[in-house]
Symmetry: C2
Subunit: 161 residues, 2 copies
Amino acid sequence: MSDGGADRDISLLFDVFVLHQRVRSLLARALSGTELRADEYAVYSVLFERGPLTPTQLAASLAMPVTTTLDYLRVMTRRGHVQRARNPADGRSYTVSLTADGLTAHQRTNAEWNVAVRQLEDALSMPVSQVRAALQALDDAAGAALARFADSEPTAVTSGR
Amino acid sequence: MSDGGADRDISLLFDVFVLHQRVRSLLARALSGTELRADEYAVYSVLFERGPLTPTQLAASLAMPVTTTLDYLRVMTRRGHVQRARNPADGRSYTVSLTADGLTAHQRTNAEWNVAVRQLEDALSMPVSQVRAALQALDDAAGAALARFADSEPTAVTSGR
């Protein structure tokens, strides 16, 4: 069985699926000795770089459903890695940020994550900026397609904002 | 909170994470009325386009660990969607392919999947071929980086192939 072009005909979305699987395997290997999994590291990184954020802002940064984001926050709270504060912009909501322990966990995983990033970038046959432009174009297009679905479908859950 | 460039600085691997999340949301929406989930559809599609395959070949096509692939095959077997046959190339192993019911399930999901693909492609600000070239370059690089990890690490499980 060839691993080349003929194996890649199915579709653009299939390419995304395969890429995600491969990157997941790479990160599972790269982070095997660290305390955070790759998906957790992504969540911690957003809080590290952009926190404090409301859960809704965090979910938007991750392109993740709010419910899933709250699941992550629950686990992180249990670990003592995240803390809540009243949202200065809106007293009815709250923001979350990493605690000192959360920052330490992020930092400990960071070195191994960066090894994976460097190895990946070293092996790339085209400029990183070009690849990222394509990923971002695709992400924008997926966002636009998603918005069209949201517009065209009657939503069952509209109550309670 | 901006959704633009400033939100996307973390890294190439973070881009892949976000893209995968967004595509997953899109497909969850697009396939909400179908019998297969997006990840299942990917597995069925490989068997539809390239089957019969050994579980190892299927796993390689999906960039998925063999153990995970066997989990999918177990569920598909329970549904009566997949059948085994002796591998003509190696009598000690077997191949899997879709049954008539498996083909029907694939076909029923296919129309909705294609709607998502078309909407995505219509919304793309660069040629599909250019995006796919970038995804494939990244996938190749991830494969190369993974191979380097595999080479450099002493493996605990080497017995029994």
